[in-house]
C-alpha cells in the first residue's frame, strides 16, 4: 500500500473501520461454519478493538490522522470565538493582501529578471557626470557613434546592445486618417541573438538588418501587442506600417513574455537602430547601452577602457562647443563610465518608483507586524481561557509537541484563511495601484500575471505569519503546568507583561506608519500648492502635427476655426505645452561671454499669455509683427539672474548656440514666474520667444508641430477633455493638412508630475488608518482582558473604599506608560528612518515638531477611546457580586 493510500485512508476512517470489522466478522463466521463454538472462537480471536487499532495504525498515516483531528478541533475553536476569529482573519487578510500586492509590484518592476539567457550578466552602461551647471547627476543615454566606438573596442570581451528609450509614436497600418499610437523601441539587430530569443512567428531581425542607416525597413511586433492589437493573426507577417515617412514591413513576432527592456513599459514594435533618425548624429543621446559581460571578463579594465574611449569622443565633440563658457565645458567633460546591474532591465519607472515602492513595502510590513501582534494578543487571551483544557490534556498524557501542533494548526488555519482572502485583495489591489501611476500619455504596464515567484512569496508569507503570531501562544500553551493550572492559574502577571510589551511595540510601529504617512501627505500638499503663475483649469492642449511642415498662416487658420466653436473662449499656440518638453541654450548680456546658467526657451504665439492667464509684470506680450529671433518676454527669475532685478524692457540679450552662433533678442515684456519643466525644481530663467520663426534672410519658416492652447469658457474642470474629441475632429476638418496627435488638459500635465506623491499620500493615509484601527483594537483587547483578570482585585479594592479615580488609574496606568514608551521609541525610529526617505519629500522636514506631534496626539486619542469600554467595565464592578461569586 502506498503512502497515498495511507493518506487517503486518513480521510475515510469510518469506512476503514467498517471494512476491518467486516473482515474480522467473516473470519469468525467461517470458523463457526466449520463447527467451532462461537464463544470459543471470539475468545481465541482476542480483543477485536485492539486488533482493529493495530491494523489501523498500519493502514493510516498516523500524523495525518492527528492533523485531521486538530483541524476539526481548530475549526470548532474558530467558530466558537466567531467575532475574534473574524476580526483576526480580516485584519490579517488586509495586511497580507497589502504585502502580496506590494511584492507583486516590486517584483514586476525591480526584481524579476528579464526573460533572456543569463540575465545576471546583463549590465547597463551609465555615466556619473555633472550637468552644464555643475550639479552631479547620472545619465544612461548615449549617442550612436560613441556606442560604435566602444562596441568595437570591447569586441571579444563583452557584447554591446543599443536599445532606445521607448517612444510613443504616431503610426498607421492603413491611411493617414487611421493614425494610432504605438510604443516603439529601436534595438540593435543582434539583440535577439545576444539575448537568446526566438521568434513566436516569422523571423526576428539580425545583424544583417542593422548595417546601413535608413536601409532596413523591417519591424518585429511584441507578442503582447500582437495578441492585443491583432488577435494573434498569423497573416500579420508581410503587412506594412508607416511611421512618419518610413514604410516598414512586419517580419515577425517576438517571443512570448519578452516585453522589451524597460519594466513598466510594454514595447509594442521593435525596429532596427539603423532606422532611427539620429543614428548618425553624435549630439543626440537617444539610446541606452546594455552590455552582456561573460564570466572571465574583468569589469574594471573594461570600464577603464570604455571610459577612455568615451572621454576621447566627448572631448572631440566639446571642441565644437564654441558657444559655451569654459566652466560649462569642464562640467560637461566631468564624466565617468560605470556599469549598473540590469538583470531586471532598466527603465525610468524603476528610477522614479524604486524608493517609493520600497517604502511602501516597509509600510505594509509594519502593518502586517501590527496585525500579527494583535492576533498574537488575541490568541493569548483565548489561550488563557483554555489553560484548564491544556492542563487536562497534559495530565492525560499529551506530549508537548502534540500541543504545539494543535495550537499551530489553529494558527495555520487562521493565516491560511487570511491568506486566501488576502490573495483576492491583492488580485485587485496591485493593478489598481498601477493604474494610479499610469496615465494615457505615459502608460505604465507591468506583467502582473501570478507566477511561481508570487505564489512562493504567498506561501512563505502564510507560514511566516503563522509562526509570527502562533508560535508564542503555542509554546506557552504547551508549557502549561497541570498542577498550577488546575489550582487556578500560574503567575498571571507574566502573561500581562508580554501583552503590554506587545502594545508598546505596536504603538511604535503605528507611530512610524502615521509619521511617514503624514510626511507624504504634507509633501503632496506642498507640491499641489506650488504657485503656477497661470490658471490651468479649462485649458485644453491639442498637440498637432503637419507631416510636411506648414507656414504660420495655415496654423493660424486652424486656430481661427477653433475660435468659432461654442464654449471656446480663447485659442493660442506654442511650440509645445509648458511642462511637456524643454529646450535650453546659453545667453549673453551686453555682448559678454556665454552664461554658465542655461536659459530655457518656449516659442509662443501672440495672445498666449492672455490665454494662459499669465500675468505680464512689465512691458507687453507678443504682437502679430513679433518674430523669432527678435523679441522676447522673459520671466522674473531671468530678470534676477541676468539683469540684476532691474527692469529689462527695452534691453537686449543674445541667445548663444552650441556652435557659437548669436541671435539678438529685445526684451519687450516680463512675465510672472511659472514652473517651466517641473513643479519640483526651483524656478528656471525662461525666455519666451515668438512662434513665427524667420531665417537669416527674413523668410518665414514652416512648422511641423505646434500645440493649440484652447481656453474653455466657464470653470468646469472636465470641460477640456469632454470637448477634446470634437475639437480634434474640427482641426482635421479645417483641411489645412494639420492633424491632432495628442489631446490633453494642462491640469493633467501638472497632476502627472505629482502622481508618485499622490500615490504615496493616499496609500500612506490608508495604511495609517488601518494601523490605527488595529492598534486601537489591540489596546482594547488587552485592557479588557486585564480588567476581566483583575476583577477580584478591583472588587476588593472597591469594597475597602477605593474611589473611581483610583480604579481608573489602576486599570490604565500601566497601559498608558506602555503607549508612551511606544511613542518615544516610534519617534526615534521615525527620525532615524526619515533620513532614508528624504529624496521622496518636498519642502518637508522630518524633524518638524508638528510632523511629530500630530501622529502622537492621534495615537494618544485613539488609545484614550480604546480604553473607555474597559474602564467602564472596571467601574461597574460590583464588589458584592464578585465576593459572593468567590
Amino acid at each position: 500500500m502506498s503512502v497515498w493510500t495511507r493518506v487517503w485512508n486518513a480521510f475515510r476512517g469510518d469506512r476503514l473501520n467498517r471494512e476491518l470489522n467486516e473482515e474480522f466478522e467473516s473470519h469468525i463466521e467461517e470458523a463457526v461454519a466449520e463447527g467451532r463454538d462461537p464463544e470459543e472462537v471470539r475468545q481465541v480471536f482476542g480483543s477485536m478493538l485492539r486488533q482493529r487499532e493495530a491494523s489501523r495504525r498500519v493502514r493510516v498515516a498516523a500524523w495525518l490522522d492527528g492533523l485531521k483531528a486538530d483541524v476539526i478541533f481548530g475549526w470548532r475553536q474558530l467558530r466558537r470565538n466567531r467575532v475574534t476569529s473574524t476580526a483576526a482573519i480580516l485584519s490579517l487578510a488586509l495586511a497580507m493582501g497589502a504585502c502580496v500586492s506590494a511584492f507583486r509590484l516590486i517584483d514586476a518592476l525591480l526584481w524579476r529578471p528579464l526573460p533572456v539567457t543569463a540575465p545576471e550578466r546583463l549590465f547597463a552602461l551609465s555615466r556619473a557626470e555633472l550637468t552644464f551647471e555643475g550639479k552631479p547627476t547620472h545619465f544612461d543615454g548615449w549617442a550612436y557613434p560613441d556606442f560604435v566606438l566602444m562596441r568595437s573596442a570591447a569586441k571579444g570581451q563583452a557584447e554591446f546592445v543599443a536599445v532606445s528609450y521607448t517612444d510613443r509614436m504616431d503610426l498607421t497600418y492603413a491611411s493617414d486618417e487611421e493614425m494610432e499610437k504605438g510604443l516603439v523601441q529601436y534595438v540593435s539587430g543582434w539583440m535577439w541573438e545576444s539575448f537568446g530569443l526566438h521568434p513566436a512567428l516569422g523571423r526576428l531581425f539580425t545583424q544583417q538588418d542593422d548595417r546601413v542607416p535608413g536601409a532596413h525597413p523591417v519591424a518585429v511586433l511584441s507578442y503582447d501587442y500582437w495578441s492585443r492589437r491583432f488577435a494573434r493573426d498569423p497573416k500579420v507577417i508581410g503587412q506594412t506600417l508607416r511611421i512618419g515617412n518610413q514604410l516598414l514591413e512586419i517580419v515577425g513576432v517576438g517571443p512570448k513574455g519578452f516585453t522589451g527592456t524597460e519594466p513598466g513599459t510594454v514595447t509594442e514594435i521593435f525596429l532596427p537602430t539603423m532606422m532611427h533618425r539620429s543614428v548618425t548624429r553624435d549630439d543626440s543621446t537617444w539610446h541606452r547601452i546594455l552590455v552582456v559581460i561573460p564570466p572571465g571578463t574583468g569589469m574594471e579594465p573594461l570600464r577603464a577602457k570604455l571610459d577612455a574611449i568615451n572621454m576621447a569622443f566627448e572631448g572631440a565633440r566639446a571642441k565644437g562647443f564654441t558657444g559655451m563658457s569654459q566652466q560649462s565645458i569642464d562640467n560637461y567633460l566631468h564624466q565617468r563610465v560605470e556599469f549598473l546591474p540590469a538583470s531586471s532591465g532598466v527603465s525610468e519607472l524603476q528610477e522614479d518608483y524604486q524608493q517609493a515602492l520600497e517604502w511602501l513595502g516597509v509600510l505594509v510590513v509594519l502593518v502586517l507586524l501590527i496585525a500579527c501582534l494583535n492576533v498574537a494578543n488575541l490568541m493569548s487571551v483565548l489561550a488563557a481561557a483554555r489553560a484548564r483544557e491544556m492542563a487536562l490534556r497534559v495530565s492525560i498524557g499529551a506530549g508537548r509537541w502534540r500541543l504545539v501542533q494543535m495550537v499551530l494548526v489553529e494558527s495555520a488555519m487562521l493565516s491560511g484563511l487570511a491568506g486566501g482572502l488576502g490573495a483576492m485583495f491583492a488580485w485587485r489591489a496591485a493593478p489598481l495601484v498601477l493604474s494610479m501611476i499610469s496615465s494615457p500619455d505615459n502608460p505604465a504596464r507591468l506583467i502582473l500575471s501570478p507566477d511561481w515567484r508570487v505564489l512562493s512569496f504567498g506561501v512563505v508569507l502564510i507560514v511566516g505569519v503563522m509562526l509570527l503570531f502562533g508560535m508564542l501562544p503555542a509554546l506557552r500553551a504547551s508549557a502549561v503546568k497541570p498542577v498550577s493550572a488546575l489550582k487556578g492559574g500560574d503567575d498571571p502577571h507574566a502573561r500581562r507583561r508580554t501583552m503590554h510589551g506587545m502594545i508598546a511595540v505596536q504603538v511604535a510601529f503605528c507611530f512610524l506608519v502615521l509619521f511617514t504617512a503624514g510626511l507624504f501627505v504634507k509633501t503632496f500638499q506642498r507640491l499641489s500648492h506650488i504657485p503656477l503663475g497661470y490658471s490651468p483649469q479649462g485649458l485644453l492642449l491639442l498637440e498637432s502635427v503637419a507631416p510636411h511642415g506648414k507656414l504660420p498662416q495655415a496654423w493660424e487658420q486652424v486656430a481661427d476655426v477653433l475660435r468659432t466653436k461654442p464654449g471656446v473662449e480663447r485659442v493660442a499656440e506654442s511650440g509645445w505645452p509648458l511642462m511637456a518638453s524643454s529646450s535650453n541654450n546659453a545667453v549673453a548680456v551686453n555682448g559678454g561671454p556665454p552664461s554658465v546658467d542655461l536659459v530655457y526657451f518656449l516659442p509662443v504665439s501672440p495672445g498666449w499669455f492672455e490665454t494662459m492667464r499669465m500675468r505680464i509684470m512689465a512691458g507687453r506680450e507678443f504682437l502679430l509683427g513679433d518674430v523669432n529671433p527678435g523679441a522676447a518676454v522673459v520671466n522674473q527669475t531671468f530678470v534676477k539672474r541676468f539683469f540684476n532685478g532691474e527692469n529689462p524692457v527695452g534691453r537686449y540679450f543674445e541667445e548663444v548656440g552650441d556652435d557659437g552662433l548669436r541671435q539678438h533678442f529685445l526684451v519687450v515684456g516680463v512675465a510672472v514666474d511659472a514652473p517651466y519643466r517641473s513643479v519640483r525644481e526651483a524656478q528656471l530663467p525662461v525666455a519666451f520667444v515668438p512662434l513665427h520663426e524667420v531665417d537669416a534672410k527674413g523668410v518665414v519658416q514652416p512648422e511641423d508641430s505646434t500645440t493649440f492652447l484652447v481656453r474653455m469658457a466657464g470653470n468646469d474642470p472636465t470641460a477640456p477633455m469632454a470637448r477634446a474629441g470634437e475639437l480634434r475632429k474640427a482641426v482635421a476638418a479645417a483641411g489645412a493638412g494639420i492633424r491632432v496627435s495628442n489631446a490633453r488638459a494642462q491640469q493633467e500635465l501638472i497632476d502627472g508630475q505629482t502622481v508618485r506623491e499622490r500615490l504615496l499620500a493616499m496609500l500612506g493615509v490608508f495604511f495609517a488608518s488601518v494601523a490605527l484601527l488595529l492598534a486601537g483594537i489591540g489596546l482594547y483587547g488587552v485592557l479588557n482582558y486585564s480588567v476581566l483578570q483583575r476583577r477580584r482585585e478591583i472588587g476588593i479594592r472597591v469594597a475597602i473604599g477605593a474611589r473611581g479615580g483610583t480604579i481608573i488609574r489602576l486599570v490604565t496606568r500601566s497601559v498608558f506608560s506602555m503607549v508612551v514608551a511606544g511613542l518615544i521609541a516610534g519617534v526615534g525610529l521615525g527620525l532615524a528612518s526619515a533620513r532614508y526617505m528624504e529624496s521622496l519629500f518636498f519642502q518637508v522636514k522630518a524633524s518638524d515638531a508638528t510632523m511629530l506631534a500630530i501622529p502622537s496626539a492621534v495615537i494618544l486619542a485613539v488609545a484614550a477611546v480604546a480604553t473607555v469600554p474597559a474602564v467602564l467595565r472596571a467601574l461597574r464592578i460590583d464588589p458584592v457580586e464578585i465576593l459572593r461569586a468567590e
Binding site: 500500500m1 476491518l20 467486516e22 473482515e23 474480522f24 467473516s26 473470519h27 463466521e29 467461517e30 470458523a31 472462537v41 481465541v44 480471536f45 482476542g46 480483543s47 477485536m48 485492539r50 486488533q51 493495530a54 491494523s55 495504525r57 498500519v58 493502514r59
Partner: protein, 79 residues
Amino acid sequence: MMAIKETSGEVLSPEEGSLYPALHRMEEAGWIGAEWVVKENGKRARIYHLTAAGKKQLAMEEARWTTVSLAINRVLREA
C-alpha cells in the same frame, strides 16, 4: 491459526485476531495482495495471495531462518 497451533504441537498459540494486523503489515510492505470476493452465501470475504515480491521475501526469510537456526543448533550442540 489452527494449523499453526496443531503443527507446532500447541507450542505456538497466537491470538487468532493478531493474524490480521500482521497480514495488513505485509500488505503494506507489498508482499501480499488482497481482494474482496463475494462468497456463495452472499457475504464478502477478503482473500490474500502472495505477490512476486512476497515470494522473494519469503525465500529470503526462510533461508535466513535456516542459517540462523542451524547456527544456533550447532552452537548449542558443541557447548
